[in-house]
């Protein structure tokens, strides 16, 4: 039988196993928890963490600009340049406590504007579109092995998202009652039905009845709002991560970020979305209890949105955006950004926030310092062709 050390050696963890006492190694690998939150639909990074100190911000954002820190319902101050969206109170609390960072002007290598392709690249970790068919987090599982014979990672979803798909066995779980069709999907259907009277009138009638019935879904169940469903999902994630033989890695998804119209500012559609995210992150933290201290959560999206407001009080698909890293294991309290500025010449393609950091740097920083993967393994297997995107340093408390 192979010793644990031999197994680790064969799996590319030798550098680390050799450089650290065994106990420390075991603690790192077995005790560390990692949660990846994928926000689908392209989050507006300039609303998540607004550069209120940038002279161009107010001018370009107009009515979508969020009030400065200190004003009513205004931004939650991060530093002299950035403020967090007022709906993200739990994240701000962690930031102030030194357990959260915001990483700004960040993007995957994807430079087109399709949600599907953008999410594919966010999840497969490839340098080019279509280069890989499995997910980077699945590939990262190889040296972690299975934990007491069980899968090391779980997707809190009906179906495993691409980021966790691949050769390594993972598990998935979702509430037996599937989430209702969300308001965003129903709105899109209304638009799709607009030119077909048969469908248009019926959907309109149905939605009116839903309102009257006090929010029942089509299955006759009380229609939970998304925020509650997401918070419950996060609590479930925490239960899995704290169960003695449970997984150490969880992936959770939240959609509804494609704010082409009526995005809102301090309040409104996007603010409600942030509130749902924040409530979920708070639920995760509370439910994890002491395990929170050994946890890192990264919150990412496929790309950002246009800097300027479009004709329908929203924003269109962009490039650079912001990400959040939080958890008790995070060395936080910083906004990590090589800020490109918002001047006309600073923008990507004249319309988007210029990405100055590769998302893979963030992931590599977490995988290396929190989950103990070696740089060679990261560059060769988890993120091929990513040598230029070096791991973000000092993300994790030591």
């Amino acid at each position: 039988m192979l010793s644990r050390r031999d197994v680790l050696k064969s799996l590319g963890l030798t550098a680390m196993a050799g450089s650290l006492p065994r106990l420390a190694f075991a603690k790192t690998v077995l005790d560390a928890r990692f949660v990846l939150v994928v926000l689908r639909g392209a989050v507006d990074g300039l609303a998540l963490a607004a550069p209120y100190g940038d002279g161009n911000y107010q001018k370009l954002r107009g009515e979508l600009a969020i009030s400065k820190p200190g004003s009513t319902d205004g931004l939650l101050k991060l530093d002299g340049l950035f403020g967090l969206h007022p709906s993200l109170a739990n994240v701000h609390q962690s930031f102030v406590a030194g357990h959260a960072n915001v990483v700004h002007a960040i993007a995957s290598p994807y430079r087109e504007r399709s949600h599907f392709d953008g999410q594919d690249m966010l999840e497969n970790g490839a340098a080019r579109n279509g280069a890989l068919r499995d997910g980077w987090l699945n590939r990262a599982l190889l040296p972690l092995g299975s934990r007491l014979g069980n899968e090391a990672a779980i997707a809190l979803a009906q179906n495993t998202p691409l980021v966790l798909r691949g050769d390594n066995s993972v598990t998935s779980w979702a509430p037996s009652r599937l989430p209702d069709a969300d308001d965003g999907t129903l709105e899109r259907l209304q638009r799709l039905y607009a030119h077909d009277e048969f469908f248009a009138t019926r959907l309109e009638q149905a939605l009116r009845s839903q309102d009257i019935a006090g929010g029942m879904d089509g299955m006759g169940n009380a229609r939970g709002n998304d925020a509650r469903q997401f918070a419950e999902l996060m609590q479930s994630a925490a239960r899995f991560l704290t169960s003695p033989e449970g997984p150490t890695i969880a992936v959770v998804e939240l959609g509804g970020w494609d704010t082409h119209a009526n995005q809102g500012s301090n309040n409104g559609a996007l603010a409600n979305r942030f509130a749902a995210l924040d409530r979920g992150l708070g639920s995760l933290r509370d439910q994890l209890g002491d395990t929170w201290n050994r946890t890192v959560v990264t919150v990412v999206t496929e790309f950002g949105r246009t800097v300027r407001v479009n004709g329908t009080r929203g924003t269109d698909h962009g490039t650079g955006t912001a990400a959040i890293v939080l958890g008790g294991a995070v060395n936080g309290g910083k906004v990590i950004a090589d800020w490109p500025g918002l001047g006309d010449k600073d923008l990507y393609a004249g319309r988007d926030l210029m990405p100055t950091r590769d998302l893979r740097s963030l992931f590599k920083g977490v995988l290396q310092d929190h989950l103990g993967l070696t740089p060679a393994f990261l560059d060769e297997t988890v993120f091929p062709d990513s040598a230029a995107a070096s791991p973000l340093q000092n993300l994790i408390r030591t």
Partner: protein, 462 residues
């Protein structure tokens, strides 16, 4: 809209990915070839037990439990009989939907389901849930391509239909047993049950306006007294014949000749009823009724009268050769008119979704739950009239909402591995409107895009 798409969606159950290219070579031939040769049985259907064995099994179970109940009234009946029957029902639903989802002769499958619905039994009456699928495969499936008369005879002699419409209880008032009994006890009920006779005339052959009278119903009911099932009957009155199969019981048959629709039928035992059925099959009202139902199912809720007339003529010309009628249908210009699109039933919608995803439905409860929620529980139309076949019956606002919710649910289960734009191109081809395609390509997530695709008018119509 191209003929390949219409062949696949209107006549079949929707294309599976990659299927349209083959159909496009000759859509008419693709359809008509499916009616050649014996029905190719899906393994899941082949593995189902025979209805005769099933009937014996459930009857035994019931008898056992009756005995138990006499000893102690502790609900044993529900505990054993219920779950057993339920499991058989689930197995049969599973086989039916797997066969349809995976079939490369979907027009054939659709015709099987069409006739199964025309000759509907409903699984809300015991022991129908245990034999509904077996009935479909034994009485309907082998007979959909031949003469209507043969299909009709197979159906009316099947134990499922006899039990569903109570014909085993129908006793000729002048039969030997009635006479004997009436000598003993005057008050005992030995009488006719007109249920099966009426539904044969109203729903299976002539149609409600087909020109028959109450007198015809009563006389026909007398003609088919004795059409029963072999083995022990409920009250232990008889035990002759092979258990679970058709059995003609002379002893309860009403003797004497009967005149139905103006024609006199001699008393010839079982042949008397068979002769009536053959004449009903050859009746012009039946031709019109069948032609109308087929045209409504395949062309439009209000089919063009000229097409109905042509189908009816083909039926009468060929002595009720169903293949000839289908050929006429496939060759009718109106069949290929995109403007005549039908709103899918939940049954259509579920099968076409499974086909689009190339999904093998490994969880029959998911299928049953879906159809139940959307209002079309398998083999449970609630009456011998079967499910309605027009959009106004399925097109309620709430019903659409439930389709949307299910689209969303199924997309979460199987939809995040396929690009919905590519899938739409593949299975809808030119029925995929540019605006639908655009809306889906802009969706936030694959799941949302797939939900839009499944709930789109493009996918909801056939």
């Amino acid at each position: 809209m191209s003929k390949a798409v219409i062949a696949a969606t209107r006549f079949g159950y929707g294309a599976r990915p990659g299927e349209l290219a083959g159909i496009a070579k000759n859509p008419e031939a693709w359809l008509l070839d499916q009616l050649q040769g014996p029905s190719r049985l899906h393994a899941a259907i082949r593995e189902l037990p025979a209805s005769s064995a099933m009937l014996v099994e459930v009857q035994d179970l019931r008898a056992k439990q009756r005995g138990k109940r006499e000893i102690r009234d502790d609900g044993e009946i529900v505990k054993i009989y219920g779950p057993t029957v339920r499991q058989h029902y689930i197995d049969q639903v599973s086989a039916r939907y797997r066969a349809a989802a995976e079939s490369d002769t979907p027009f054939h499958e659709r015709l099987v389901h069409f006739w199964s619905n025309h000759f509907a039994i409903s699984a809300d009456k015991q022991p129908m849930p245990a034999i509904a699928g077996l009935y479909e495969n034994e009485a309907i499936r082998p007979n959909i391509g031949g003469k209507f008369a043969d299909l009709l005879l197979a159906v009316e002699k099947h134990p499922a239909m006899i039990l569903y419409l109570d014909n085993q209880r129908s006793i000729g008032p002048g039969s030997k047993i009635a006479k004997a009994a009436n000598r003993r006890r005057k008050d005992q009920e030995f009488g006719l049950n007109e249920n099966l006779a009426r539904e044969i005339l109203e729903l299976h052959t002539l149609g409600v306006d087909g020109g028959y009278t109450q007198q015809d119903v009563t006389r026909f009911a007398k003609v088919i007294t004795g059409w029963s099932i072999g083995g022990a009957t409920e009250r232990g009155r008889f035990s002759d014949g092979i258990p679970g199969t058709f059995q003609f019981r002379e002893i309860v048959h009403e003797p004497g000749s009967q005149t139905i629709l103006g024609k006199r039928y001699k008393s010839d035992g079982v042949e008397q009823g068979e002769a009536v059925l053959r004449d009903l099959a050859a009746h012009s009202s039946t031709a019109r009724f069948i032609a109308g139902k087929l045209a409504r199912h395949f062309i439009a809720d209000e089919p063009p009268p000229t097409v109905v007339e042509k189908l009816s003529e083909a039926y009468l010309r060929t002595d009720g050769d169903l293949s000839a009628v289908y050929r006429e249908l496939v060759e009718a210009e109106a069949s290929w008119d995109a403007a005549h699109a039908k709103y899918k039933t939940p049954h259509d919608f579920v099968i076409s979704t499974l086909r689009a995803f190339k999904h093998e439905p490994d969880n029959p409860r998911f299928i049953i739950g879906a159809l139940d929620t959307m209002g079309q529980t398998p083999w449970k139309p609630g009456s011998p009239a079967g499910w309605p076949d027009t959009a106004d019956q399925w097109g309620g606002a709430d019903a659409l909402y439930k389709r949307i919710e299910w689209s969303h649910a199924v997309s979460q289960v199987v939809g995040n591995r396929v690009n919905p734009v590519e899938l739409g191109d593949d299975v809808l081809s030119d029925a995929f409107r540019p605006e639908t395609r655009r809306a889906i390509s802009r969706a936030e997530t694959l799941v949302q895009g797939m939900t839009l695709l499944l709930a789109s008018p493009d996918f909801q119509r056939r």
